[in-house]
Symmetry: C2
Subunit: 167 residues, 2 copies
């Protein structure tokens, strides 16, 4: 029986903050918003990822609109050489819009376990949209009118710091 071979207490927690809502009709399209105030440094969601085969990614996924939703993901070749592919984020991570001027969400890859965890970078007030920086993956015209010069990092969260997007 399954009960005898797995230990759910040793499983990886799949947190999602309970005070998040999806709103469809915004200037950025669908987006995730805070329904209540959320403190700084709060886990917003842990998302499993689907790591794409590098060949399939190059041949197919890069040619579709899905590509714009994927994240860079480190992997290795059959001979152990490092290479980069893409991963699909299976959760709200794929729904967070971009903000250059006022990102309030940072993220961190867990490559071993195939997870991305998102945290609030500062207090997020009720009614605010949750936004990450897409960094160098920005493939559209920035909807933030007062765009600032932005570090083209990859958006990884530096744990214990509210400085992100600078690795």
């Amino acid at each position: 029986m399954i009960e005898s071979i797995v230990k759910p207490k040793d499983g990886l927690p799949l947190t999602r903050h309970p005070d998040l809502v999806l709103i469809s009709d915004t200037p950025k399209g669908r987006g995730v918003f805070a329904a209540k105030d959320i403190p700084a440094h709060t886990i917003l969601e842990t998302c499993p990822v689907l790591v794409l085969d590098p060949q399939e990614n190059k041949l197919h996924i890069e040619k579709t609109s899905l590509y714009h939703y994927t994240y860079n993901w480190p992997t290795t070749t059959a001979t152990g050489k490092p290479q980069t592919t893409q991963a699909v984020i299976l959760g709200l991570g794929s729904m967070f819009n971009h903000s250059t001027a006022d990102q309030n969400v940072g993220w961190e890859r867990d490559v071993i376990n195939g997870l991305v965890t998102y945290k609030s970078l500062r207090e997020i007030r009720e009614g605010e949209e949750l936004c990450i920086s897409y960094g160098s993956r920005l493939t559209f015209v920035d909807a933030d009118a007062a765009a600032q010069t932005v570090d083209e990092g990859d958006g990884s969260l530096v744990l214990g710091s509210i400085e992100v997007d600078d690795i």
Copy 2:
């Protein structure tokens, strides 16, 4: 300001049950398990979906392993004719494994809002894996040894009923 143009209290709730964990090393690969008992008819997760362009889907996505994670999704052509494409389920819906003999999770599409909601079909005990029926999308050898004849429905949950997979 964003606060003035959206109403988070009118947003779509993004429920995820708090007692779910991910376990990587199971006979079916990664899977979602109950860390505590979960009552019947409980919402397990509401997942936004990414509806794929039908042309891109046919030309590219169908040729990748990602295809096996997608769900059939109704859409219309430019002239309003019904057609079927695929959607990527952005959440744990993409992580639920298949069970022919003992599925305990049903699901329902919300086509208007681009969501899928998953509910427990019966009480799920601590330690059990959460499994749906892939129905006619079964593209692999069934890991359930005692497989029964199964209705090749599309797995949609009939709300208010524990009879599923029969539409």
